[in-house]
C-alpha cells in the first residue's frame, strides 16, 4: 500500500470530520437547554463517528426545536 497517497487522500476526510465535530461542540456550548445531560452529548459527539453530531443537531436541543 502506498502510504503517502493514502495520507493525501485521508486528509480531506479528517478535515471535514473535524469541522463537523467542532461545529457540534461549539453549538453544544452555546445551547442553554439540551435533551439530557451535556457531558453525555460531548461523549456522543466525540465517539460516534458521523452519526453522533447528526443526532445532536437534530435531537439535542430543547426549546426552539421540541
Amino acid at each position: 500500500m502506498d502510504n503517502t497517497l493514502l495520507i493525501q487522500l485521508l486528509v480531506p476526510v479528517i478535515i471535514l470530520q473535524l469541522i463537523l465535530v467542532v461545529t457540534a461542540l461549539v453549538s453544544l456550548k452555546n445551547t442553554a437547554y439540551t435533551n439530557g445531560p451535556k457531558w453525555l452529548w460531548v461523549l456522543i459527539i466525540l465517539f460516534f463517528n458521523l452519526i453522533g453530531p447528526i443526532v445532536f443537531f437534530i435531537f439535542g436541543k430543547r426549546g426552539r426545536r421540541t
Binding site: M1, L6, V13, L16, F57, I58, K61
Partner: protein, 256 residues
Amino acid sequence: MRGFITLVKKEYLGSIRSKKVIWLPIVFMLMTLTQPLTLYYMEDILKMGGGLPEGSVLQMPVPSAEEVMASVLSQLNTLGVLVIVIAVMSTISDERKNGSLTFILTRPVSSLQIVGSKTLAEGSIVVISFICGYLLSYYYTVILFSTIPIQQVMESMLIYSLYCLFIVVCVIFSSAILTSNGAIAIVNILFFSVLSIAGSLFSEFLKWSPTELSNHAMNTLIDESTHGLTGSILVTIILMILLLFAGARAVDQKRV
C-alpha cells in the same frame, strides 16, 4: 411577492441558526467520499479485517470509474434519503407546535407562499449539499480510477438533484399533514423504500415513477440508455406541483 422573499430569508436564517447549512453538506461529502476510497482499498481492507484463510488468493476485479460513481449514487439511495428525511422533517410540524405558524398566518401571506418558501430554502440547501458531495466523489474517482466525461457526470447529477428535490417536497407535504416528527420520518422512509422496491419488481409498470430517477441517473453513467427518462421527469415535476398545492391546503385546514 415581497412576503415570499421575506419568508425565504427567514427560512435561511433558521437553517443558519440550527447549523444545518454547515452539517448537511459535510455529511453528504463524507458519505460520498467513503465510497471511492473503500472500493479502491477493498483488497487491503479485506486483508486487514482478517477472516481469509492463509494463502488464499484474492482476485478483485477493478471496477470502472463509471461503476464507482454509480455505486456512490446507490449508497445515497439508502443513507442519503434517510439524512434528507431527518433534516427536513420538522420544518412545518415544529412551527405548528410552538405556535409561530399561527402567527405567520395572521400576516398577509398565503399558505402557498409559506410552503413554497420552505420548499425553496430546504430544497436549495439539500441540492447544493448533494452537488458538493457528488463533485468531491467525482474528483476522488478521477484520481483513484480513471476519468469520466464530465457531461455524463453532469447529466446524472441533474437527474439525481431532481430526485432529491422530490424527496424534499414529499417530506414537507407530510410535515404539513402529520404532527409527530417520528411519524413523518417513518412514513417517508417506508414510502421511498416501498416505491423503489416496487419499481425494481414491476419495472415496466412503474417505469415512470419518481424513484426510477435514481436508476436513470445510474444508467446515464453506465450505458447511457434513456428509456423512460422523459416520462419520469414529467411525472416527478407534476407530482411535485400537486404536492405543493396539497401541502398549502393542509396548512390552511389545520390552522389551530
